[in-house]
């Protein structure tokens, strides 16, 4: 079978020439409804041929944590905090009517019955469509979350400059 060799420089030049519009989304929230909104916009934009970058910070990091991952913090305060602050895309609460998880369970049932993708499926779709995902290093440290407890496919660990460099070239910039 003949292989087509792509010259990296040419591919990069093509990308610059085509200049797809950029979308950046900051996800600060860790609730299911807000994460859904973020990922629906991200996947929609990617499907429209836009270049999408998502930044996860604070509670938004819980969305991209492996379920049941323990805190790696050594000091007692952050360790205790790690017990309280659990993560995992399949275990996010609703921002309203959570009722200790009952509201969320009901919402998930309605979604399943209506063939609506949940957050884990939306994350998978986003990765499939080439959405870039970046985790904020400062809040990872603050919340005692180690990078190996994040889900696979997190492209970068970075800070505010990386976000701003992307955002200034983008035409859509959201903070959720």
């Amino acid at each position: 079978m003949a292989m087509t060799q792509v010259e990296p420089a040419t591919a990069l030049a093509d990308l610059h020439a085509s200049q797809p519009e950029g979308v950046t989304i900051v996800l600060l929230s860790g609730e299911m409804d807000k994460a859904m909104a973020a990922f629906i916009i991200a996947t929609g934009a990617a499907a429209m041929g836009m270049r999408v970058t998502m930044f996860f910070t604070f509670w938004g990091l819980n969305v991209i944590r492996k379920p049941g991952a323990a805190s790696v913090a050594k000091d007692l305060l952050r360790k205790a905090f790690g017990w309280l602050n659990t993560g995992g895309a399949a275990h996010l609460p609703l921002s309203r009517f959570n009722f200790g998880g009952m509201g969320t369970t009901m919402m998930k049932k309605v979604m399943r019955d209506n063939r609506m993708p949940g957050v884990p499926e939306l994350i998978e779709t986003a990765q499939d469509l080439g959405v870039t995902m970046i985790a904020c290093t400062t809040t990872l440290g603050l919340l005692g979350i180690s990078k190996d407890t994040l889900i696979d496919g997190i492209d970068q660990l970075a800070g505010v400059s990386t976000y701003l460099a992307e955002a200034k070239d983008g035409s859509v910039n959201l903070f959720i």
């Binding site: 629906i40 996947t43 929609g44 990617a46 499907a47 429209m48 041929g49 209506n114 063939r115 609506m116």
Partner: protein, 81 residues
Amino acid sequence: MIESDITLDTLGYFCPMPIILTSKKIKELATGQVLEVLSDDEGIKKDMPAWCQTTGHEWIGFEEEDSDPKRVYKAYVKKAG
């Protein structure tokens, strides 16, 4: 009636799935071929023309069909080169 080469069934799916499935399916078409997308999500009436405008594929039009239990929207897109 609009002629199409390939049909994509997204019945029962809500936004953003019809658009995402369309963006994947269109890759299977050759330039100039027409994709028919079936959806019962009313949002597609606005979303598909908007998707075409952004991606550069040609928007052909809609057909609507009353069927039980929901109205079915058929969107037609011609693949651009």
